[in-house]
Symmetry: C2
Subunit: 304 residues, 2 copies
């Protein structure tokens, strides 16, 4: 049972990204620019954005955060996007989701220049994944693939269950695993035999958003378990049931514990697994940095 150390892998990757940025800066006197747009007061979003911003700054990326309150008009957001599209110092734009519910998210997202779509959310960028014709992938799926590749896990012919069909994780990741010759079953809330499917899978990716959904008896011995879930639990009983000992201790101080969608006891049956926290989460941030660098290189013509 090998724990896939997302935090460590992310740090290694970020060091390489930082070094490459310094090298390009020395040669071309240019730095990658990333701007994150955040609207409203969602505390989880604020935390994620802060983390992304700090990491970017640390790597030498010109990172900016554009904050809007809930009352901002759709027009103001779109004008900001248009200005960032035109700004040649900004190579990567991220619109932190979810937007407050009164916005038409897609109408707004589609103003993004696809060449600066660092989260790879636009239809044209998702479509290129299906066609296997792209260098850029949504950050969370990209982080999952990076970790599998880091451990030289050969996906050829593996049976994979992708639990969760969001356009941010499940659908693109299913396509990416298929492109690597895995046989992927895409499961979701209407799937009637999830337990049977996961029990027969060589690889289970959980992106559901509920603690402990993938229970120990639902996984095969030796399976690879990738946990995309990030659940904040504030109820002591739930924390004791679902969180690892370190998070249980943190709960006493902080009043919450973090856990994923895969029950921690299931990890004991795995050949490889990603912990929560410290697995997919940090990799998502690292892949945002990687995507920013990729878009920067595409735009300045430095090759990739």
């Amino acid at each position: 049972m090998t724990k896939i150390e997302g935090t460590k892998i992310a740090e290694e990757l970020q060091e390489k990204i930082g070094a490459e940025i310094r090298q390009i800066e020395a040669q071309k006197k240019q730095l990658p620019g990333l701007t994150v747009i955040i609207v409203g007061e969602n505390p989880a979003s604020r935390t994620y954005v802060k983390k992304k911003h700090q990491t970017a700054l640390k790597l030498g990326i010109r990172s900016q955060v554009e904050e809007f309150d809930n009352q901002v008009s759709r027009t103001e957001i779109v004008e900001k996007i248009d200005a960032l599209n035109r700004n040649k110092h900004v190579h990567a734009i991220l619109i932190q989701l979810p937007l407050p519910a009164h916005f038409d998210t897609w109408e707004i997202l589609e103003h993004l220049n696809p060449a600066k779509d660092v989260d790879c959310f636009l239809p044209v960028n998702l479509g290129k994944i299906l066609l296997n014709r792209t260098d850029i992938f949504p950050c969370t799926p990209a982080g999952v693939m990076f970790m599998l590749d880091y451990h030289k896990i050969d996906l050829n012919g593996l049976n994979a269950v992708m639990a969760g069909r969001s356009f941010i994780v499940g659908k693109p990741l299913a396509g990416m695993l298929t492109n690597k010759n895995a046989t992927v079953t895409l499961c979701h809330s209407k799937t009637e035999n999830l337990e049977k499917l996961t029990r027969e899978a060589d690889l289970v990716v959980a992106a559901i958003g509920k603690p402990g959904v993938i229970r120990p008896e639902m996984v095969k011995k030796g399976a690879i378990l990738i946990d995309v879930g990030q659940n904040f639990l504030t109820n002591r009983k739930e924390v004791m049931e679902f969180c690892n000992p370190s998070q249980q201790m943190k709960f006493e101080k902080k009043g919450y514990g973090i856990t994923g969608d895969i029950h921690i006891e299931a990890f004991k049956k795995a050949s490889y697994y990603t912990p929560v926290p410290g697995g997919v989460g940090p990799m998502t941030v690292a892949m945002l940095m990687s995507n920013t660098l990729t878009l920067f290189k595409q735009q300045i013509g430095a090759g990739i």
Copy 2:
């Protein structure tokens, strides 16, 4: 065991499309325009294009075929696409695939105006399928969904095996079935347990391109079997093994027989099945007409 009569369903649909075209013509004095570009001498492609052209003309579509020989330059094709993109009488453009091998197919396809991409092959249009935000789907997958809907087959919670991962059929159709709440396993040449997967599936869609791959013992009693394959057999032994009696008789006259990817004996176990010929094939043509009408209405602002 219900045979899904693709030919009849396609004719019914085409009658409706023809009637709607006449109605819009009466009101708006405009007709939908479809242009097919075909390059080279692939005989199957020539046959398909002829069929599409004839059907379009019959429905009142202004159909044109632009033929190029193998020696045409990439620039000439791209200039033709640009001219068609600008031509306001042309609402739908189809580039018949495959292009001869010396062309970079995607470099050429990407010159198409996405609003006129009647085959729904461009990344932006494929991506919109994943996002469930489109009115247009690739013709073959659209035809499959139309037939299932015609027979009021509820896909909610069904286990589906999609065999074949092309961007023309397998990948978009897997996404479309997922959007209708089926649990889809996307299988391909590297899948190691196809037989087990199909045997447990409520719905099997075969888009492989080899006769009889899905054998009777590979399907569950009562399964829905959709056969996208269209194989031309010229060897008598193969024709007798794989083709239905009517095609066996035609073989004596024509020297070839047509069959799909699902063994004809497997159909006896099915609740519903599509024959080959006369199943998915005619529906693909009908959906091309339907897509032409949809793009026409989008472009003239007639609502959809």
